[in-house]
């Protein structure tokens, strides 16, 4: 159980001129459960890192004070547990059980207590594998559950969760929510960052909205906040529950055939799938974690050869994975699930200019494309930044924008809208709808219901993965 006090707190990352958070006055009492909201880039992740005592002096500049139970966060680390936006970067050990045990070992928990604890938290988060499962062989959703288990094993008094369900399928997300609800008794203070308000509401009793300009925009119980500021917050990009976007179904009539996969399969990662995408429509691929959606996206994107079955596209005799890179990039644009896997330059604007330049556009045209995309996706002030220093949502938008910059006939997007506030989400959806109406074909792998409702003309659900043949969990 911990309480939090911020007085005029601010933080500026090294190498940035703008403050990530500033002028923040906030008090959170023992046992409160707070939902932290704010547009993408408002500084939510930065604030959580500050609370966890993970902003070293040498990585930026701070002002004001921050106190946890009256202590400096760096001294109060024992009381705080944090789950980051990207689970793969917070797994430390090679085997799943060892990874959960890592925290308790560091904190000097007696050896005899560690394994029962590990077993207990793994059950609570619904981790389906034995403890010797290699951490490198987990899907995004599975890794997230393991990472949560690693945090819960420390029994923190202050639990900080940064978009804990961003990449999970609905049952998986539900499982995590239940795990969090069960793990956080009256003696745990909880701060959770989640764009999808409706999903997090059952867990919280207070909502705090950060103002991107600095300070707190709104603060109070959910009912009060959404009754008093609902319309305005929705306009500013908060996913206020009850605000739906009308469906934007296709207006295009050209339904020319772009790509077809017939019985395409990839080892144990993807069972045989037959799928077809046409110009002028948005095809949504949905399915549980580990179903092989990302694998299918790589196959359709001409980046992975199917081990059996056929893929044909654009009337070419050769399958896409055999094409020259320039041909491929001219016809199919891919966006990976992990945005950072996509970046090849060290500047946001270069990243956007790369594609059009390689397609031989004139410098003036390249400049126009870059400026327009930066503007529409609210990245203009980051044009000179390094892509790897962007916030989760900004990085996602940039990676989608790189594919939009060349606007090939077929776009294969893996989770194009995760981590977006309502405004940037809307902007992305409009951009994609525009491309579709011009006759481009779009295949989107997604867990995002709103996206499917609004934009998808057709949905292809992928099957449930086979149960893992490994034995149940035992001590090593």
């Amino acid at each position: 159980m911990s309480d939090v006090q911020l007085r005029d707190f601010g933080w500026r990352h090294a190498g940035r001129r703008a403050w990530a958070v500033r002028g923040l006055d906030l008090e959170i009492r023992h046992g409160e459960r707070v939902l932290l909201l704010g547009p993408s880039g408002a500084g939510k992740s930065t604030l959580l890192a500050a609370l966890a005592g993970l902003l070293p002096e040498d990585s930026g500049e701070s002002e004001g004070t921050i106190r946890i139970d009256g202590l400096d966060p760096r001294k109060a680390r024992e009381r705080v547990g944090i789950l980051f936006q990207d689970p793969q970067t917070q797994l430390v050990m090679a085997r799943s059980g060892d990874d959960v045990a890592f925290g308790p070992e560091n904190r000097g928990v007696p050896a005899g207590e560690i394994w029962p604890r590990v077993s207990d938290v793994l059950d609570r988060v619904g981790f389906p594998y034995p403890i010797n499962r290699p951490t490198s062989a987990l899907s995004g959703g599975e890794a997230q559950r393991l990472a949560l288990a690693g945090v819960l094993a420390l029994r923190p008094g202050l639990l900080l969760l940064d978009e804990p369900t961003a990449n999970l399928d609905p049952p998986g997300a539900e499982l995590i929510r239940t795990a969090v609800a069960r793990a956080t008794g009256a003696d745990t203070t909880l701060i959770i960052v989640e764009h999808r308000v409706a999903e997090a509401l059952p867990l919280v009793d207070r909502v705090v909205v950060l103002d991107p300009g600095g300070g707190v925009r709104a603060d109070g119980t959910p009912e009060m906040i959404f009754a008093a500021y609902g319309d305005r917050l929705a306009d500013e990009g908060v996913w206020v529950p009850g605000f739906h976007t009308p469906p934007l179904k296709t207006r295009s009539t050209s339904r020319d055939h772009l790509i077809r996969a017939t019985g395409a399969a990839v080892g144990r990662r993807l069972g045989p799938v037959t799928i077809e995408a046409n110009g002028g429509e948005v095809l949504a691929v949905t399915g549980p974690n580990g179903a092989g959606k990302s694998t299918l996206a790589l196959v359709l994107g001409g980046l992975l050869a199917p081990t059996s079955g056929r893929v044909e596209a654009f009337g070419d005799r050769r399958p896409p994975h055999r094409w020259r890179a320039t041909t491929l990039a001219g016809r199919i644009g891919s966006v990976f699930q992990n945005p950072e896997h996509q970046f090849v330059t060290s500047k946001v604007s270069d990243e956007l200019a790369l594609g059009p330049r390689r397609l031989g556009r004139s410098p003036a045209e390249v400049g126009r494309i870059v400026t327009e995309l930066l503007e529409r996706l609210r990245l203009t002030r980051l044009a000179e930044a390094n892509p790897y220093t962007l916030s989760g949502g900004e990085a996602r938008r940039l990676s989608v924008a790189t594919a939009l910059a060349t606007a090939p006939r077929l776009l294969v997007l893996d989770e194009p809208t995760f981590g977006q506030d309502r405004r940037t989400w809307r902007e992305l959806v409009d951009l994609l709808a525009g491309l579709r109406d011009e006759g481009h074909g779009i295949v989107a792998v997604t867990h995002d219901d709103a996206f499917v409702r609004t934009l998808a003309d057709r949905t292809v659900p992928l099957g449930v993965p086979e149960p893992d043949p490994l034995p149940r969990r035992t001590r090593p």
Partner: protein, 196 residues
């Protein structure tokens, strides 16, 4: 943590030195095969093969240039060697012994400079001393039985030169190239960048 002692290794120092070591361990492991293959290409004058010997010695200098703490050379080179042994290097445990000795060479150079100087000449000195320790070990271990003047001495001399150029100057250039990418922001080595 508020480090009272600037010589104490922070977590990031340990992890980054280890990551450099691991990455180079993988490269060594791949390089081991290249090394054996080049044997054919350099057959006309085998000591010349040592021209690329310096690649083995890069972690010793690179680790210290980035981390700038006592023990960095020794630790990085030793871990790199252990990793390549774990991956199945052809030389087995002996890799670890060479790793320790090579790390010791560079460590000595930075120690002489009291861990205060990490500029180009310091890097070259470190590369040279690593080359010397490597050459001494190989003199006993690998080149025994060959002719002193036509093989053993040229082999040793070229090892030292390669250490100075590839490991010394090469690591220094690598740090310069890494700094703008922002990955070294938490190290003094990467602090000189403009704000955006």
């Amino acid at each position: 943590m508020n480090d009272i002692n600037p010589r104490r290794w922070r977590t990031i120092d340990i992890v980054i030195a280890s990551v450099i070591a691991v990455t180079f361990g993988v490269i060594f492991w791949a390089w081991g095969t290249v090394w054996s293959v080049t044997e054919g290409a350099f057959a006309f004058f085998p000591p010349a093969q040592t021209l690329i010997y310096g690649v083995w010695l890069v972690p010793a200098v690179l680790g210290a240039l980035i981390v700038r703490k006592p023990g960095a050379s020794l630790y990085t080179e030793a871990v790199a060697a252990t990793v390549s042994a774990l991956l199945g290097s052809q030389w087995g445990v002996d890799t670890i012994v060479s790793g320790l000795l090579q790390g010791l060479g560079a460590e000595l150079a930075f120690a002489i400079l009291l861990y205060r100087n990490f500029k180009l000449p310091a890097a070259v000195l470190a590369g040279t001393l690593t080359g010397v320790s490597a050459a001494c070990y190989d003199f006993v271990k690998y080149t025994a039985g060959t002719d002193l003047w036509s093989y053993r001495i040229p082999y040793a001399v070229i090892t030292v030169i390669s250490g100075a150029i590839i490991a010394g100057a090469g690591s220094w250039a690598l740090v310069r190239a890494l700094a703008p990418t922002g990955v070294l922001d938490r190290f003094e080595a990467g602090r000189e960048r403009a704000s955006v």
